[in-house]
C-alpha cells in the first residue's frame, strides 16, 4: 500500500491551471524573442 496520498481534485485543478499558464507564458516569451529579432533586423535596415 502506498504511503502517499492521492491528490485531491482541487490540487489537480490548481496544477492544471498552473501548467496551462506556464505553457502560455513559454509560448509568449518565445514569440517575444522572435519579434525582438525581427525588430532588430528592421531597425538595422532603417539606420543603414
Amino acid at each position: 500500500m502506498s504511503t502517499e496520498e492521492a491528490p485531491r481534485p482541487k490540487d489537480e485543478v490548481i496544477r492544471a491551471r498552473q501548467k496551462a499558464r506556464a505553457r502560455i507564458m513559454a509560448w509568449l516569451l518565445a514569440a517575444f524573442i522572435v519579434l525582438l529579432f525581427f525588430i532588430t533586423i528592421a531597425k538595422m535596415g532603417l539606420h543603414r
Partner: protein, 298 residues
C-alpha cells in the same frame, strides 16, 4: 465586494480582464490610423505598434475592472466578469494590469518611438485615473470627457508610423471623441436601471431620458460634421468624404428617431438599440473608408 478566489486565475479569465470586445475596435482604429499615415514603417514595427496599443488597451481594461469591482457586482451586464464572479482576485488583476501596461509602453518606445509611447501611456492613465477613478462616479459628463481615452488609438497608430502629430490624426481623435457620447448614451438609455442600481451618474439617470435623447441628437450632428471635415480640408479624398457624408446622414437620421421616441421601457427602445449597434458599424466603415481612400487615391 469580490469573493475570494481560492484557485489561481485561469488564463481565459485574465484574457477576459482585457475586455477583448472593446479591444477589437481599438485595434482596428489604431491600425487605420497607422495605415492612413503618409509614411509606412517596416511591417514588423507596424505590427509591434498595433500589438502594444492592444496590450495597452487590455491593461486599461484590467485596471478599470480592478477599480470597479463593486460597481460591476451590482450591474447585471457586468456581474459575471471575472472579478465580481470571484474567478480572479483583485491583487492578480492589479498586477496583471500594471505589468501589461508598463510592458506595452516600454515596448512601444523601443520598437516605434518615444512620442508614441508617451501617447500610449497618456491614454492608459487617462482611462484609468481621469475616467475610471475621477469622473465616472462623480459627473454625468463622465463619458464626454472620458471618451478622450478611446480616441487615442488612431493618433498613437499615426505617431508610431510618422513620429509626429498631424492635423488628420487630431481630427480622427475628435471624431471618436464626439462619437463616444451618442454611442454610450444610447446604451445607457436601455440599461438605465443597471446604472441607477450601481449609483453611476450616467446622463439618463441624472438628467432624464428625454434630455439624454436631445444630447444624443446634438452630439450626432456635431460628430457627423467633424467626420466630413477632413475632405474639404484636403486631408482625404472623395472615397472618404462621400462615405463620411452618407454614414453621418444615417447616424443623424437614427439619432432623430431616438429623439422622436418617447418610450421609457427598455423593451420599447428599439431606436436606441439600433443606434447603438449602428454606431459600432459606423466607426468600422468610416475608418475602413479612410484607409481605402489613402491607398486607392494616393
Amino acid at each position: 465586494m469580490t469573493k475570494p478566489a481560492a484557485l489561481p486565475a485561469d488564463w481565459r479569465d485574465l484574457y477576459a480582464l482585457t475586455k477583448p470586445g472593446v479591444m477589437r475596435l481599438v485595434v482596428f482604429t489604431a491600425l487605420c490610423g497607422l495605415l492612413a499615415a503618409p509614411v509606412m514603417p517596416p511591417a514588423v514595427i507596424g505590427f509591434t505598434a498595433i500589438l502594444c496599443i492592444a496590450l495597452g488597451a487590455g491593461a486599461a481594461g484590467a485596471l478599470n475592472q480592478w477599480y470597479e469591482v463593486d460597481l460591476d457586482s451590482k450591474m447585471r451586464r457586468t456581474a459575471n466578469r471575472p472579478l465580481p464572479a470571484g474567478r480572479v482576485d483583485r491583487q492578480t488583476a492589479l498586477h496583471f494590469g500594471v505589468g501589461l501596461g508598463a510592458f506595452s509602453v516600454i515596448f512601444m518606445g523601443l520598437a516605434a518611438n518615444v512620442l508614441a509611447a508617451v501617447l500610449l501611456a497618456a491614454s492608459i492613465l487617462f482611462y484609468v485615473l481621469i475616467y475610471t477613478v475621477w469622473l465616472k462616479r462623480r459627473t454625468a459628463q463622465n463619458i464626454v470627457i472620458g471618451g478622450a481615452a478611446g480616441a487615442f488609438p488612431p493618433l498613437v497608430g499615426w505617431v508610431a508610423a510618422t513620429g509626429h502629430i498631424g492635423l488628420l490624426p487630431v481630427l480622427l481623435f475628435a471624431i471618436i471623441f464626439l462619437w463616444t457620447p451618442p454611442h454610450f448614451w444610447a446604451l445607457s438609455l436601455f440599461v438605465r436601471s443597471d446604472y441607477a442600481a450601481a449609483n453611476v451618474p450616467m446622463m439618463p439617470v441624472v438628467a432624464g431620458i428625454q434630455a439624454t435623447r436631445r444630447q444624443i441628437a446634438i452630439y450626432s450632428v456635431i460628430m457627423a460634421v467633424a467626420a466630413v471635415a477632413p475632405w474639404p480640408l484636403h486631408l482625404t479624398g472623395a472615397i472618404y468624404g462621400v462615405a463620411a457624408a452618407i454614414l453621418g446622414a444615417v447616424f443623424v437620421a437614427m439619432s432623430l428617431m431616438v429623439l422622436a421616441n418617447t418610450a421609457t421601457e427598455p423593451k420599447l427602445m428599439k431606436p436606441e438599440k439600433r443606434l447603438f449597434a449602428f454606431s459600432i458599424l459606423y466607426l468600422f466603415v468610416l475608418f475602413a473608408a479612410l484607409v481605402a481612400d489613402r491607398w486607392l487615391l494616393a
